[in-house]
């Protein structure tokens, strides 16, 4: 038994090495990166940050220079002195100080007016559109990340390829061929049993021949029992890899200790640097459905977001794997232009999307939607969110975006 345990460790180490291909962080501080990497897209990690509930885009990137904004938001509107002006039209919400710092350093691409035609104002159904990149939502099939994996990692079956940190796995990651590993906390990604049970459990899962060959589906002729044993062995090694990566990660960067998003992003940094082959990592922050009393609530949300993103982006800058990471931040919709009668805003449509990363070209992209030419009180989107996806698909994974998104969308120049 002990021997099989050791064998497994050895295999793990091998898998860890194989999983990172070009970007092994094991080498001691001397990995030379091909300069082409950052542009060619091989070996990049994509991080998806979902702001759930419908983030108020107009209170995130504030068009303070627009009279129509002040008219529509008599009590909620931010004044010039309350924003971090990017030019004389728009500025970041005043709490986004660290984001501003990274913006000035060229690490933030701000894509304005992102949405899709025939927008849906239901949280769930609009998520589904974002998650499947298809107006039909779940009827269209797997999530877009699942389809991306089919295109980019057809035969590769690393259980940690796609990871979600949080309670509910977003449908974007839904895939039968490349199911995500998911956990609310990497430390909780394990089978909970005492030492002796764990040994026996590993014995029960680990007596498979051909342990190194990982395929997603049941192989032809494979019995369900063998399939389950194989997934069990994968799960045991995958959970150990994740936990080791997190336990071993050292950073001088201080993340806020009392905030779930910041802690999740610290774990993301550990996984990005962990060399365990995670290529898409998803996290979520909730609370953006600000129908009432938005001022207080949204200010707090922006502070929390800034406090988590600031150190995370600093942290990513410390390693090649981190610098090769692209972060996309999105929300299922923006909010209506005019405030409602409860000092809040109701479900709207288009909003800004953010891309963060050390390897991208920062600045403004897309076009700020007009606050005067509205569609029934809502902004009209100027950039389809699938253009942003397409850009990430092409640049991070070197896959033709049409293979993942059913149509062609113009790429953006940020990555």
């Amino acid at each position: 038994m002990q021997r099989s345990h050791l064998d497994r460790r050895a295999l793990l180490a091998a898998a860890g090495l194989a999983g990172v291909t070009v970007l092994s962080t094991r080498a001691h501080g001397s990995v030379t990166l091909s300069p082409a990497l950052a542009t060619q897209g091989e070996g990049r990690t994509l991080v998806l940050l979902q702001l759930s509930g419908g983030n108020d885009g107009l209170d995130t990137v504030v068009p303070f220079g627009d009279d129509a904004y002040r008219r529509a938001r008599p009590t909620l509107g931010l004044k010039k002195s309350e924003v971090l002006a990017l030019d004389d039209y728009r500025g970041l919400h005043g709490a986004l100080k660290q984001v501003r710092k990274h913006y000035d350093a060229g690490r933030v691409a701000l894509i304005e007016g992102v949405g899709y035609p025939e927008p849906i104002r239901s949280h769930f159904r609009s998520y589904d559109v974002w998650h499947t990149a298809d107006i039909r939502g779940r009827d269209a099939g797997d999530g877009w990340v699942g389809r991306l994996c089919d295109a980019a990692f057809k035969d590769e079956q690393n259980p940690n390829l796609v990871v979600h940190i949080g309670g509910n796995v977003p449908y974007a990651l839904h895939s039968t061929s490349h199911p995500p590993a998911s956990f609310v906390n990497p430390r909780a990604y394990r089978w909970a049993g005492g030492e002796a049970e764990t040994e026996a459990y590993e014995q029960a899962g680990g007596m498979q021949p051909e342990r190194d060959e990982k395929k997603p589906k049941k192989r032809a002729g494979e019995s369900s029992l063998d399939f389950l044993r194989r997934v069990l062995a994968d799960g045991q090694s995958s959970s150990e890899q994740v936990r080791r990566a997190v336990a071993a990660y050292r950073t001088p960067i201080e993340y806020p200790t009392n905030d779930a998003l910041a802690q999740s992003l610290a774990d993301v940094a550990a996984l990005v640097n962990g060399g365990i082959g995670s290529r898409v990592i998803s996290v979520e922050m909730g609370g953006f459905d600000t129908h009432t009393d938005e001022r207080t609530r949204h200010d707090q949300l922006m502070r929390t977001l800034d406090a988590a993103l600031g150190p995370f982006l600093d942290d990513l800058g410390r390693s090649a794997a981190g610098r090769n990471t692209l972060v996309l931040m999105f929300s299922e919709f923006g909010r209506r232009v005019a405030e409602n009668g409860a000092r809040g805003t109701d479900h709207g449509v288009a909003g800004p999307m953010f891309a963060f990363g050390h390897g991208l070209k920062g600045g403004l992209y897309g076009k700020h939607p007009s606050l005067e030419k509205l569609d029934d009180g809502d902004l009209v989107h100027t950039t389809d969110f699938r253009s942003v996806y397409a850009t990430a698909i092409q640049r991070c994974f070197g896959v033709k975006p049409e293979k993942v998104l059913s149509a062609k969308y113009p790429l953006l120049a940020f990555a």
């Binding site: 430390r187 049970e197 040994e199 026996a200 399939f227 050292r250 390693s319």
Partner: protein, 562 residues
């Protein structure tokens, strides 16, 4: 209540009048000659696994004393009278005009949603109770099956009463007549809402219901054209829900009563005419038979068998009881390929484990737990329902199944799962990621302390938090495995492993797993310095070891089958 007067309405009264399906007497089919020879414990347990939610040892013994045909008839009729339906409180939706202030309206809406959620939770708990009690296990199996077949979800149907009514519909027709069920589903309020038939109007047809009716409910892809969908949608126009979505009605002025050409037939089809046309297609019995056999056997039927069962369905005019009688008395239902292959859904896994352990669990724990494992009742992931089979199993869900079982047995606390990782206490940085480029290195212990200190605010998600609260406050496993072993006069390691595995597993224990369990038991016994055969003499320590063994058994690959 202040602004939410509750309408207390017995659910059946809130439903549109339904013609009760005349339940045909199942034929007293006799098993084929020689069937008695395969009527053994293994096959009886297999039948319980598939036609119900697993068996306790006494139930297997009971079935073995019956003639196969007589037992199957009991399965179809239920073992005992089922519980009365849950009396459902239907909270009234707050109306904006009743509220002067917007904020007050929103508060009322929030109260309404919370109340709706509470009612749904109660009903889900009631449903889980029915599954665990298993007075009529096949009926509960079929309610679950239809829920994944004629899907609707609370995500879109934002009305608990409609979801409950749909469940009641499935319960009434669970083992009834498929034709009647399809006729009922095209006027079911939850279905009309879920597939947008309120928007399907004469002047502006919406194809959603027509499409799924053909693609998923009756024919399957490839057996109709886009034109058939468009024409079929016209036939369904006019059926809509009441404003509060708890009922449905036909609105003639929104119905397109012109001629439609569907699947080569031209007539002034209405909803029932359209459904009858679909049921008359040769593809329909094949579709339904394939779905049923695949669900119950875990593997697709071959062509000959499919043809046989499809024509049988037609012969029996869509009655389901004869179909199941035939299936459960079919020796092919008991072949090796079928018995070992089916992966249990999370609901089947948790209900089965609860039954086999013989414990009482607050049903909401099972509901939330199944949700965590990927099967949120009343919220199937898409109109196609749950994918099932190996799609249930990922590295995360497989480990979590074991953790849930450990929680039911009382040896795992959710806090334990979230607590400090043993790996973190003794970092082994030799493997990966220990040395970041460009990073000035903080001393290991300082970094560890810094991270540990902050590491505690974890967002568990609503489901997990609920589960944690519930297990902490409401749950104490009433289980005494020592007594169970002693009663059976079991003492030695091998006997204990074999007996407990036999009781807790839906399928036989494999040799590698047996070896692992024995290793565990021997190790633990030697820690207590007890001879083989004396393990049960250590009181609380014995029980703890048995429970950990049970946790291990329910975490095995074998425990996921059934």
């Amino acid at each position: 209540m202040l602004n939410t007067p509750f309408l207390l309405v017995a659910l059946s009264l809130a439903l549109p009048a339904q013609t009760q399906a005349p339940q045909a007497e199942p034929e007293l089919a006799e098993a084929a000659p020689g069937f008695e020879r395969i009527w053994n414990a293994r096959n009886v347990e297999h039948l319980y696994n598939r036609a119900g939610f697993g068996a306790r040892p006494a139930e297997v013994e009971y079935a073995l004393r019956q003639r196969p045909a007589a037992f199957v008839k009991q399965l179809l009729e239920g073992f005992a009278p089922t519980s009365d339906p849950l009396f459902i409180d239907i909270p009234a939706m707050p109306e904006r005009r009743e509220f002067e202030e917007r904020g007050e309206f929103e508060k009322a809406q929030n109260r309404f949603r919370a109340e709706e959620r509470r009612v749904l939770t109660s009903f889900a708990g009631w449903w889980f109770d029915q599954m665990v009690e298993a007075k009529h296990p096949l009926q509960e199996r079929m309610v679950l099956f239809w829920h994944g077949y004629f899907t609707s979800s609370t995500r879109d149907v934002k009305r608990t009463a409609a979801m409950v009514a749909q469940n009641e519909l499935f319960r009434r027709h669970a083992l009834g007549n498929f034709s009647e069920l399809v006729h009922a589903i095209v006027r079911d309020p939850a279905m009309l809402e879920y597939l947008d038939n309120n928007e399907n109007r004469k002047d502006r047809p919406n194809e959603n219901l027509a499409r799924e009716l053909m693609e998923l409910f009756t024919l399957g892809e490839g057996n109709y054209t886009e034109v058939d969908i468009k024409e079929g949608a016209r036939a369904l126009t006019g059926w809509r829900t009441t404003d509060d979505k708890t009922g449905s009605y036909f609105q003639p002025r929104n119905h397109d009563d012109g001629a439609k050409t569907i699947l080569g037939k031209t007539a002034r089809f209405d909803a029932d005419g359209f459904v009858d046309l679909l049921l008359a297609q040769p593809a329909c019995p094949r579709w339904v038979a394939r779905k049923l056999i695949t669900h119950f056997e875990g593997v697709e039927p071959d062509e000959a068998r499919l043809a046989e069962y499809a024509s049988f369905l037609v012969d029996k005019r869509w009655e389901l009881k004869p179909f199941f009688t035939k299936l459960f008395l079919d020796p092919r239902f008991y072949r090796d390929e079928v018995r070992a292959e089916r992966i249990s859904s999370p609901v089947e896994y948790l209900v089965g484990a609860t039954r086999r352990l013989g414990i009482t669990v607050p049903p909401q724990i099972l509901w939330l737990g199944a949700g965590q494992l990927g099967q949120r009742l009343f919220d199937p992931p898409s109109v196609k329902g749950w994918e099932g089979g190996e799609a249930w199993i990922t590295t995360s869900t497989l480990l979590s199944r074991g953790n849930m079982a450990g929680m039911l047995i009382g040896v795992v606390k959710l806090e334990d799962v979230l607590r400090e990782d043993p790996l973190e206490v003794e970092p082994e940085g030799e493997m990966m990621g220990g040395d970041m480029m460009g990073g000035d290195s903080m001393s290991d212990s300082a970094a560890k302390d810094a991270r540990k200190a902050g590491r505690r605010k974890v967002d568990l998600g609503a489901e997990m938090s609920g589960l944690q609260r519930m297990t902490n406050e409401m749950y104490f496993p009433r289980i005494n495995l020592t007594a169970r072993m002693q009663r059976a006069k079991i003492a030695g390691d091998m006997q204990i492993v074999d007996t407990l595995a036999d009781e807790l597993l839906p399928v036989p224990l494999s040799e590698p797993s047996r070896a692992a369990l024995l290793t565990f038991l021997r190790t633990e016994r030697s820690v207590l310095a007890l001879e083989d055969g004396r393990l049960l003499s250590a009181g609380v320590k014995s029980e703890e070891i048995l429970r950990r063994l049970a946790h291990l058994i329910l975490s095995l690959p074998e425990a996921q089958l059934g």
